[in-house]
Symmetry: C2
Subunit: 347 residues, 2 copies
């Protein structure tokens, strides 16, 4: 993969050399970062606000395939998926820690690309990298990111606080990341069968990017604040609309009605799903990795939210006894199923 490029073995630098090399490009931007990388622990000052912590583990061969994932995109995504969790609490991210396990197939130049994507994501979202760990890995690339955020107590949105009658809302559109993945997997297969064939991703930029380079929806958190809306419950869509909506309902001890016709789909997602003989609605319900925000708001907020092109109202919260249901376009009622992505049942 890196044969034609400059190749510096990491072993030459050693662990401290690598850490020095990586941390020299880190710029601390947040006043809440008292002390970043370089001591036993980072020191943060959230002056009276609540601290929010979330962590994700990304493993080669499980969460990403380096055959079609550029390392810079992977670094960018590794940060985004973690920030998304803090935004889903209605918080602000201040810092991340980044741990890397690197197999010897990775030269320094590869680590640099990965880190470049991470730094880009951090810069864009005003987040400081304040520590981490690096190690050799015997098999593949291991990425562990922990994000640290903050919020005032009354701002925080939990999953278990949706109320009967609340409107169910979602940002952006769904299913694109999953359909993009199908496209990348198909092109990988074609390439493996005949390396002379160039990948055909023309005109598919949007859904490929949804898979490779998602954006955490900080803009939605800010928009809701501007609109004067505090969601009654919120979660980010990592496992799929169905699975994540069920988390809100179960934890809130409520039911829901989700309307198939209201689920936002990008035309490219719709068309490409059809090309693959996939049901676009199923892609949205169970595809996952969209990193959109799924939230509930009080009915009294309807006027404030109804005209936002980036937010769709897709259903409402009911009493628990009514169950968690999908109302199909033809009006049939189907119980929701959590067919979200399961890291333990991959082929």
């Amino acid at each position: 993969m890196f044969e034609n490029k400059e190749r510096t073995e990491i072993e030459k630098l050693g662990e401290f050399g690598l850490i020095d090399y990586l941390t020299k490009n880190i710029i601390i931007n947040n006043p809440s970062t008292v002390k970043g990388a370089g001591d036993d622990a980072a020191v943060l000052n959230f002056s009276g606000k609540k601290t929010l912590i979330s962590t994700d583990l990304l493993l080669e061969g499980i969460h990403f395939d380096l055959a079609y994932t550029p390392l810079k995109h992977l670094g960018y995504k590794a940060i985004q998926v973690n920030l998304s969790d803090i935004y889903a609490m209605n918080g602000t991210v201040g810092q991340v820690t980044v741990s890397l396990g690197l197999s010897s197939k990775f030269p320094l130049e590869a680590v640099e690309e990965l880190y470049e994507g991470m730094l880009l994501a951090c810069k864009k979202y005003n987040v400081d990298i304040v520590g981490g760990d690096t190690s050799a890995s015997k098999q593949g690339l291991v990425i562990s990111v922990t994000s640290i955020g903050y919020a005032d107590d009354e701002e925080i949105c939990y999953r278990n606080t949706a109320n009967e009658g609340d409107l169910i809302c979602v940002s952006g559109d769904l299913g694109g990341a999953y359909v993009g993945l199908q496209l990348l997997e198909r092109e990988k297969k074609i390439f493996l069968e005949n390396p002379a064939v160039q990948p055909d991703l023309e005109g598919k930029d949007y859904i490929v990017e949804r898979q490779l380079k998602p954006e955490a929806r900080r803009d939605i958190v800010l928009l809701l604040k501007d609109l004067g809306i505090k969601p009654t419950a919120m979660i980010d869509i990592s496992d799929g609309l169905s699975s994540d909506l069920m988390h809100i309902c179960r934890q809130s001890e409520k039911g829901c009605s989700l309307y198939e016709e209201k689920i936002p789909l990008d035309p490219m997602t719709y068309e490409t799903a059809r090309e693959f003989n996939l049901d676009p609605t199923v892609c949205a319900l169970s595809g996952g990795e969209d990193y959109e925000l799924l939230f509930t708001v009080s009915q009294s907020d309807y006027e404030k939210i109804k005209n936002n092109s980036d937010i769709s109202i897709i259903g409402h919260i009911n009493e628990k006894a009514s169950g968690m249901n999908l109302i199909s376009k033809s009006g049939n009622v189907h119980p929701l199923k959590a067919q979200g992505w399961n890291a333990f049942s991959q082929p």
Copy 2:
């Protein structure tokens, strides 16, 4: 390894099932834990204190060998090495997050053992597990722990604040974890050559435990508070006395004199090192993984600290120009070398 025991495949439970299974035993003890596992992020309340964050990545085949590491001990150690970083800041640990990457060779019973060790360590040190991530792994066992602590601003001990004339102190004794590892590696080799031979670790409990089941020195942090001493700089010994003392000196822009005869060695460490034809002093200087606290105190604190059996005064901080030196038992002066453990140059 798990052939004779009950075996439940993790795939059967799925990711959410596993998380539910693991989190059901978590008891939240700290008032600073507002919300633990079960939402997008944990919510913590450090009411005005500074937040401390540290993270470590432990990879199978690099940081541990399951041939001689009981999983319960491994879980215990994974927590301890992380807590140690927060204590090295002179802080209190409140929470940890735990991410696990599990290869299919691990049945649920194995994960349970690992987690049992983690819960034991957390209970003993009054730490809450507030989140994490679980995933399948194609690359052996992956453990990523992030610890979150807090301290008043004026309590925090950095690495870069040692002053000329300060006394260099270390808790406990050194080199035991490294010599214990040599013993375990020898017994593994013998076992692989002849599985009928039982491991001969008799009478070596102390150093084997130093390797397999280290204890973070919270007691020293509390002792120093009782004695009315605030270290001028502090670090925990993970890479080895030499490497970690050099971190303090370099970051403080100072030199040091370290006296070989003052380095605390347990008799069993000394004797066993000799059996392996190893220099016990080199084991202490470069062995690492002792998780003792290395700190500097003002000379004016000498009277307060001198009679503590658990703290050794091993040298003093000098001006930078004098260099970082080891004074041997025979009075010779050798520049210190950082031959700490390097995860990138393992065989």
